[in-house]
């Protein structure tokens, strides 16, 4: 099952190395033949529906609402052998886990938040600004922390050799960005709206357009990697990754809001998405509470 990984692409620095030509050569020239053994969307949809109905019934019977994805969610076939079968062990975080790695402006250049200026030309697609705030479970801003994103281009293609989708690469778009949150927990990325893309979970499986987000809090226990989606996507009910969150309110927390007020005339559409990390277990220092930025080399 291990697919080949090209380490040159795998480890490339997207800001200094242009890896797109090599990946272009790897693209198949025609559509991959349909796999006769693959399961249909109808099979998968029926499975997802049954899980959803069982959850709805459990809610009715008084079970608490689930806020996170199921680790054991068979409709995402790759999860079958990759989820723990034993319950997660409840633990109280200890000293090191009550703090987070510190990132700052020596780690991330301000220009890394603009994914449309990393090459010589303008990337193709719909220019968007995605912004919001990172908050902890008590509503406090997570200031001076690292946000990393990655995404497909407007045609639904990732710069990664393992992405064999025969959609064009964009020589002007890598699809990787970083920023450090402001004192109010704010972040903002300028990018291109990613396209939907096919994956081989089942026959005719398509991922809704999404941007991967990686976030750090003020405590290591708040670490999270997730995906942001766009409102109104018709692929939501069909996608086992989105549906692995069985609770509709919880799913909705991954969907950005279109914000016309922030849309830049003649330039870019705007979306807002706030991210809430888990609650804090530690009393914050004054600097953290005031939202001081991350660099502390003194």
């Amino acid at each position: 099952m291990p697919e080949e990984i090209n380490l040159e692409i795998y480890n490339a620095d997207p800001l200094t190395e242009d890896v797109s030509d090599e990946a272009t050569e790897a693209a198949p020239k025609t559509y991959a033949p349909l796999d006769a053994a693959a399961e249909s969307q109808a099979d998968l949809s029926a499975e997802m529906k049954a899980i959803g109905e069982a959850y709805a019934q459990a809610l009715k019977n008084g079970a608490p609402a689930e806020t996170q994805p199921r680790l054991d969610y068979a409709p995402y076939r790759s999860s079958v052998l990759r989820h723990p079968t034993k319950d997660l062990h409840h633990a109280d975080p200890e000293t090191i886990e009550l703090y987070s790695p510190a990132f700052g402006h020596m780690d991330v250049h301000a220009l890394e938040a603009d994914l449309t200026i990393q090459h010589n030309g303008e990337p193709l697609g719909e220019r968007i600004v995605v912004s919001g705030r990172v908050l902890d479970g008590d509503g406090r801003p997570v200031a001076g922390q690292l946000v990393e994103i990655w995404q497909a281009n407007s045609a639904g293609r990732y710069i990664h050799k393992r992405d064999q989708h025969p959609a064009p690469l964009d020589p002007n778009f890598t699809g990787v960005g970083r920023c450090i949150t402001g004192a109010d927990g704010s972040y903002s990325f300028t990018t291109i709206k990613p396209g939907a893309y096919p994956w081989k979970n089942h026959l005719n499986a398509w991922r809704p357009a999404h941007i991967h987000f990686s976030l750090f809090g003020q405590e290591f226990t708040q670490r999270i990697i997730t995906q942001m989606y766009f409102p109104g996507d018709q692929l939501f009910p069909l996608d086992p990754i989105y549906q692995s969150i069985v609770d509709q309110d919880a799913r909705d927390r991954l969907v950005a809001t279109y914000n016309h007020e922030q849309t830049k005339p003649e330039w870019a559409l705007a979306y807002n998405w706030d991210i809430v990390l888990t609650g804090s277990k530690r009393t914050w220092t004054e600097n953290e509470a005031l939202g001081a930025e991350g660099d502390d080399h003194e």
């Binding site: 692409i9 199921r70 054991d72 790759s78 200890e94 000293t95 780690d107 670490r223 990754i241 888990t278």
Partner: protein
């Protein structure tokens, strides 16, 4: 008590390889430098096969047990110990970090390294710990370890290699399944 409901996690997916890794991501200090050790292991799935598309992060105290508060993990200067590292596994599921043995963060505490595990097919990140094997008295008193059955406890303790390094494997499922941790106290957390 939390007032806001946390945003759900999602799988890291297959295509993080051009986004999350960075130069010297797994070198918390330079390989071969005084005090450096190798932390290595393999990530396995429920069939006992190595997983080629997992990525791990470690976060730890320094050799004196102090929690680092220094930035610079993404652009390493070769001198500053930030306590954070990231290692994507290779085709054979192997990961390697160069780091130091963490000291105890409190008098008598068992030193360990905090770990976050991400993988394609893993719906949400998993937290775990890797303990140093030496201080048996501290290990016996450790609140987490002492709450575990012996066969479960074993999954969190590294082996000391002849070269001074640590070997520790992660099993996402099945025989010898690694103990993964839930730090939340809210209802409705991952099951």
């Amino acid at each position: 008590m939390s007032k806001l409901t946390p945003t759900p996690g999602q799988t890291v997916g297959p295509f993080y390889g051009y986004a999350l890794p960075y130069a010297k991501d797994r070198e918390l200090l330079a390989p071969g430098s005084p005090g450096s050790i190798r932390l290595q292991g393999t990530v396995y799935d429920g069939a006992g096969h190595p997983i080629p598309d997992a990525i791990l992060e470690i976060w730890q105290a320094d050799a004196d047990g102090k929690v680092p508060h220094r930035t610079g993990s993404l652009v390493r200067d070769g001198y500053t110990f930030t306590g954070f590292g990231r290692s994507a596994v290779g085709n054979t599921g192997d990961f390697t970090f160069t780091t130091v043995n963490p000291g105890p963060t409190e008098e008598g505490a068992a030193p360990f390294i905090a770990v976050a595990v991400f993988a394609r097919g893993l719906m949400n990140r998993l937290f775990t710990r890797v303990y140093l094997p030496e201080d048996e008295e501290a290990l016996a008193k450790d609140p987490l370890l002492s709450a575990l059955a012996p066969d479960r406890r074993r999954t969190l303790i590294a082996r000391r290699d002849a070269d001074g390094g640590l070997t520790w494997d992660i099993r996402l499922q099945g025989d010898g399944e690694t103990v993964f941790l839930d730090f939340s106290d809210a209802e409705g957390a991952s099951k």
